[in-house]
């Protein structure tokens, strides 16, 4: 893949909150259209990385380039699906309203909704299997359905790069399937996708590349390379248990005791 132009370049990036640095000197390149799993223990900086990539957190050092241009030159090509708790689900908007928000930037903040916008929203709703309750209030939805509303909105944004924070955590099977199906559709549309997950099996089986984080970059590459024992020990430390037959088990349910 080295001959394809890199579409997302992260160079020596350090980022954090205030004076505190969460991620130190990150450098990696994601090729166009790749599907990357971002893994690491709790608090390793996965969400922080995503927030830096969409420009929610100012960089303390380093540079991020998308299609060869710095982050601020883009506004509509990165879509971010945050963890569900970040918005107020009792807000008086319908499912369709939320998905339509994904079009606001492209349609212009003072323009009316065009026929094209409506068609794209309709298509996104159908694709995520939530077309039948598009007129429902978002407060009526289950957790998985809420997630699919976010996914549909990200689709409506027509992004080049899609970032998803823990989309497989705490959702029903239908939503997991819908999310995986979406990833396949995105691959066809050549959308680069970065997804954080706790599920190492899923990461190894469904993704082209893995990014192993623990406050800094431990490993980046194809799953087989990344999932080596020494990498896992470095990332997970005492949460990692090596069985006699060489199988590594990550106990990720309890945060590490520092």
């Amino acid at each position: 893949m080295s001959h394809t132009p890199h579409r997302l370049e992260v160079q020596n990036v350090s980022v954090g909150y205030g004076d505190k640095t969460v991620l130190h000197e990150l450098t990696f390149n994601v090729p166009h259209g790749a599907r990357v799993a971002v893994v690491g223990p709790n608090g390793a900086g996965k969400s922080t990385l995503f927030k830096a990539l969409v420009g929610l957190l100012p960089l303390q050092a380093g540079k991020i380039f998308i299609h060869g241009l710095p982050l601020n030159a883009h506004k509509d090509c990165v879509a971010y699906i945050p963890q569900r708790e970040e918005v107020d689900w009792r807000f008086p908007v319908t499912v369709r309203d939320v998905v339509m928000m994904g079009r606001y930037d492209r349609q212009g903040w003072f323009n009316r909704t065009s026929l094209e916008d409506k068609q794209i929203v309709e298509k996104s709703l159908e694709q995520m299997g939530i077309g039948s309750f598009s007129r429902n209030s978002i407060s009526d939805l289950s957790g998985g359905q809420q997630q699919r509303v976010f996914l549909a909105r990200a689709l409506a944004q027509e992004p080049h790069i899609l970032l998803m924070d823990e989309p497989f955590t705490g959702v029903d099977v239908v939503t997991q399937e819908a999310t995986l199906k979406l990833l396949d559709d995105l691959r066809e549309a050549e959308v680069t996708a970065m997804i954080s997950t706790h599920d190492l099996n899923l990461a190894a089986s469904k993704f082209d590349l893995m990014l192993l984080l623990n406050h800094r970059l431990i490993a980046f590459g194809e799953p087989a390379e990344v999932l080596k024992q020494e990498n896992l020990v470095m990332a997970f430390g005492r949460q990692l248990m090596i069985l006699p037959d060489g199988t590594a088990v990550v106990d990720d349910c309890c945060p590490p005791v520092d």
Binding site: V54, G55, L56, N72, K75, D76, V78, A79, Y80, P82, E86, V87, D88, F91, P92, V93, T94, D97, V98, M101, Y104, D105, W109, F110, S137, S139, R153
Partner: protein, 278 residues
């Protein structure tokens, strides 16, 4: 039907009703954001914090509305500055400013001889004292506020519902938040005449909260809230006229009655409605 028309025989009642309806609608529309963004305390604080501006205008024999206007915008921006710095928690900052401004306002007013009457008008409104100039100013400001809310519907919706999306779409969130504070301040100033600083917060919160119980879309919440706001103003003024009670209180109590009815009987989660159906 004579009792319906009778109050309108007086010109000051006509002006009073017009001003009240404008204020009812304005407060109700801005109130949707106050309710959804959890700014009720802020609205109350803003209302009290403009007291010094009014007092100074009164002492200088200037227009109370202009004095309040300057004070309100000043206070709104200071609160925005305080909460952005993050050194003091926002509600603490508001609490300090609010109490200080209120004290300063009352101190200034207490230096006036007839202060008891004036203070009660400022605190609870004097709808019968609305002059032609006041009415024009109210209508002009009202139009300006409503126009801004309509024009900035999409950005305001996104920064209120999903600040993260707003940031990824590079919306100038801080500017929009400050603008919202200024609009809120203007609304409070306009409501001074009819319900006074003491009850402005109620007009901001109650009709919007009533609408929130009934609808599930922001646009209809604004419209329903505006209808309740306007109705409360009209019914409240009739009550005030016939029962001889203070207009501000009558308006707020009417609005509260609507809220209680919606709370008990709304089709979504009404308490009594559920009992009757089971």
């Amino acid at each position: 039907m004579n009792w319906l028309v009778q109050p309108f025989a007086y010109e000051f009642m006509q002006r009073g009703i017009l001003a009240s309806v404008i204020v009812g609608i304005l407060c109700a529309v801005m109130g949707t954001y106050v309710v959804l963004r959890g700014m009720a305390f802020l609205g109350d604080a803003l209302a009290h914090a403009i007291l010094p501006g009014i007092a100074i205008a009164y002492l200088l024999n200037g227009s109370l509305l202009v004095g309040a206007l300057i004070a309100a915008i000043f206070i709104a921006l200071i609160i925005g500055l305080f909460s952005r710095q993050g050194t003091v928690k926002e509600d603490t900052a508001i609490g300090i400013l609010f109490a200080a401004a209120l004290s300063l306002g009352i101190a200034l007013i207490s230096s006036i001889k007839t202060y008891a009457v004036d203070l009660s008008h400022i605190l609870f409104g004097n709808v019968l004292g609305v002059s032609i100039t006041d009415l024009w100013l109210t209508a002009g400001l009202g139009l300006l506020i409503l126009l801004t809310v309509v024009l900035l519907y999409k950005p305001f919706l996104v920064i209120s519902f999903d600040p993260v999306l707003a940031a990824t779409m590079r919306l100038p969130a801080e500017l929009l938040r400050n603008l919202m504070l200024v609009l809120l301040a203007l609304t409070v100033v306009v409501s001074l005449q009819t319900v006074g600083v003491g009850l402005a917060a109620a007009m901001l919160v109650t009709p919007a909260a009533t609408a929130y119980l009934i609808t599930r879309r922001l646009t209809s919440m604004m419209v329903i809230s505006a209808v309740f706001g306007a109705l409360s103003s009209i019914i409240g003024l009739y009550l005030s006229y016939y029962l001889n009670i203070v207009s501000g209180s009558a308006i707020v109590l009417t609005a509260t009655l609507f809220f209680v009815l919606a709370f008990l009987f709304n089709s979504r989660q009404g308490v009594l409605r559920r009992k009757i159906n089971t």
